[in-house]
């Protein structure tokens, strides 16, 4: 077969353009403060990873706590979203619960802009002491991601052969046993897709975080944005903090790329 190096070159250039922000931030995070201050093309690199050390606590920023919050909020959201939507989607698809209406509601909710929920959530969470607590953001993000999880799970369950479940029922297995021993193991790819998408979207949330947290539960997205306004001259430290903030979802989503592609393209709507 003819080797299409021409296509490779063209695609490389295009991909590079799309990655300019990331490479720019990474480049800045490796340079010394003096080099950053004297212009973008002064090649002087810091061999000590100073900016990364600063971001991780050496300079006394709150960034380590933002980072912890993001991890707690994202993992908590994945867990709650799966626990709520997996059993419900089985009930909807296989037990006919709620007819077609629950899935249609999920789709309609998916279309509703998140900003619609911001003021009601703010009022509700203020009344119940959930402001500035990770649990509040876990609830808000789970609500937003639940619709996507329902749609992905429902699609995956619909594709599963009914015969296995019927055979299990004939053998006297209860619905609970079928769900645990048969459906759950078969649902691996759907579970991975929901997991990686929910993690990605809750890690990326800015709107709910900026409204529902003030300091204790602030995640990296809001932390990094505030960082720019409050330490506007410390570009090296900011770049390092941003690069670190991108890393967990990047590693996770690249490792699970197959499921990310499947989840995003299975008619699921991005949040």
């Amino acid at each position: 077969m003819k080797r299409n190096w021409g296509v490779t070159a063209a695609v490389s250039v295009i991909v590079f353009i799309f990655l300019i922000p990331l490479t720019g931030a990474f480049y800045t995070s490796l340079r010394t403060d003096a080099a950053i201050a004297s212009g973008p093309f002064v090649w002087e690199f810091d061999s000590n990873w100073t900016h990364y050390k600063n971001a991780l606590g050496a300079a006394g920023y709150d960034f380590p706590s933002f980072f912890r919050n993001s991890i707690v909020i994202s993992l908590g959201t994945v867990l709650l979203t799966v626990l709520v939507s997996f059993p419900a989607s089985y009930a909807i698809v296989r037990l006919g619960f709620g007819g077609p209406w629950l899935l249609r509601l999920a789709l309609a909710l998916r279309i509703t802009p998140a900003i619609f929920f911001v003021i009601p959530f703010y009022k509700l969470f203020t009344a119940y002491g959930l402001i500035d607590r990770p649990l509040g953001l876990i609830l808000a993000n789970s609500f937003i991601n639940m619709t996507l999880a329902l749609l992905v799970f429902a699609g995956a369950i619909k594709e599963m052969p009914l015969e296995i479940e019927e055979a299990a029922a004939v053998d006297g297995a209860s619905i609970w046993m079928t769900l645990r021993k048969i459906v759950l193991p078969l649902l691996g790819p759907g579970l991975a897709a929901v997991g990686v998408l929910t993690f990605l979207f809750s890690w990326s949330d800015y709107l709910f975080a900026v409204v529902l947290t003030s300091s204790e539960a602030t995640p990296v997205t809001v932390g990094a944005a505030n960082f720019v306004t409050s330490y506007g001259v410390r570009w090296g430290d900011i770049s390092a903090a941003v690069c670190l903030s991108i890393l967990p979802p990047l590693v996770f989503a690249t490792a699970a790329q197959k499921y990310l592609v499947k989840g995003l393209s299975s008619g699921a709507v991005k949040g």
Partner: protein, 293 residues
Amino acid sequence: MSTTFSRERKIAGWLLSAPLLILLAGLLIWPMYLGFKTSITHDILSEFETYPAGFENYKNLLVEPNFWSSIRFTLIFAAVASVIELTLGLGLALLFDRIFPGKRFLFSLMLIPIMIAPSLMAVMFRLILNENIGIVPGLLSKIGLSYSIFDQSNIFTSLIILDVIEFTAFTFLLSYSALQNMSSEIYEAAAIDGANKRQTLIRITLPILKPALAIVFLLRILDSIRTFDSIYILTGGGPGTSTQTVGIYIYKTAFIYGDFGLAAAAAIVLVLLLTPFMPFIIKQFNLGTESTK
């Protein structure tokens, strides 16, 4: 036998859905009630008392120029950005639909923007666009171009370019998966009939992809309508209110100016404006998911 069986199924259905129903009651029905109640309340942060205001907030909103200009800006921005992103994403997907060295690696690299939070992307944009230290102004001045990115006259173009850099990966990914779902038999048949590449693309590939592309377009439009993070971090809605999306308008009205009543009314009006399109959108999704299978 069959009645106890169906009863068991019914009970199981309720039990399995219980967590979902509780979540919907707590985070959908109750907040929607609160949102509506706020919208008919005189609720301003700086005034200690709140009192029922009837439809005063809605009346004020109807004559509030900033709200309507934010809706207009949002729609224009969404339409322009989505058209460009869909075109570029599809073009890139067609380019990737060949065999070339390093394809898998470049594919993974191309997906990276999807994995970056829009707010963090915006922080990186501020970094690379900074007048004193940014790479982009540095490069522009090196080649002798003077283009101030955040100027009133350039800001719309700048924000569109940034949105395109951020979200083309998404339209690319969805167009590419739609392309992969097409059967190779169709291409073989076209080749046998003597169709050239261009004819195959225009007469066969694009028509078959149309439903899937319509969904990608809808997704981008809907996503752009809720755009908040990137533009808010980059411009704060300014200069003036020239880049204020409806999301930024609602956020600022409530949390900067403290008028919760007006902001709640604006959120409700926004959803009411979207409602007539909902059945159409839902139908498109159903159509699209069936035809791409």
